[in-house]
């Protein structure tokens, strides 16, 4: 069962990842990804950001992405924590953790989950810049990254 959380609060990366392996002896690999707010985007300084989402659908979409990953690779567990609300440069936005017996499955599934999250989970970023606030535009490169996994 995928572990999925959408929350305003920050998370403790070490504690969250430790919880994936605690009390188990079958985990040989834990791959993780942490996404952070950058202080610059598309040539503008970014002083802050607010993240909007679609409550209800967001959780379903993340669970569906993790379920797809578990069907596609030999995984033990998956975790996604995504923050919403007001964030500052340097803040953590997202954590993905994947456990498996061997590293290949964990590495690939972790990247797959992030690529699909970027293009399928209903989150929207609004950045504060010196020229005012703006909604972040979706990137074609994210669609291309997600497209790599279809076959």
């Amino acid at each position: 069962m995928p572990r999925v959380r959408v929350q305003e609060a920050d998370f403790d990366t070490g504690r969250e990842l430790d919880a994936l392996t605690e009390g188990r002896t079958d985990v040989g690999a834990l791959a993780s990804f942490v996404g952070l707010v950058r202080g610059e985007n598309d040539g503008s300084a970014v002083s802050g950001m607010s993240l909007e989402h679609y409550p209800g659908m967001t959780e379903k979409a993340l669970e569906d992405i993790c379920t797809q990953a578990m069907a596609r690779w030999r995984l033990i567990d998956t975790l996604v924590i995504h923050r919403v609300g007001a964030l500052r440069p340097g803040d953590r936005i997202v954590l993905v953790g994947v456990t498996s017996a061997h590293r290949g499955d964990a590495f690939e599934a972790c990247e797959f989950i992030m690529d699909y999250l970027k293009t399928r989970a209903p989150f929207w970023k609004r950045e504060e810049t010196p020229h005012g606030a703006r909604w972040v535009e979706a990137r074609d490169s994210d669609d291309a990254a997600a497209g790599r996994w279809s076959r």
Binding site: H53, Y54, H82, K118, T119, W124, K125, W135
Partner: protein, 84 residues
């Protein structure tokens, strides 16, 4: 009746986040619903103009223009997503 939800930039440009709407008669689809919305005024025509980037979900699943809509459905319109 169906519930319509709007998010992010689309919510801002339309000035509405949630509304109830009577479905078009006959076999309603997302496409028929969008035609009905476009006919409201220039702001709506512009927001849903051909070539404008938007996405739709029906009952919290990603959907398309051909997706059928039924009374009681929750239909959400939003820009391409930018999380992560």
């Amino acid at each position: 009746m169906v519930t319509l939800l709007y998010f992010a930039g689309l919510r801002e440009s339309l000035g509405v986040s949630r509304e109830q709407l009577a479905l078009p008669s006959g076999n309603a689809t997302v496409s028929a619903l969008v035609d009905q919305l476009r006919a409201r005024d220039d702001r709506w025509t512009e927001a849903f103009a051909p070539g404008r980037q938007w996405r739709v979900a029906v009952n919290q699943q990603m959907a398309s223009l051909a997706t059928p809509v039924r009374p009681g459905d929750e239909i959400a319109f939003f820009p391409p997503v930018t999380g992560g």
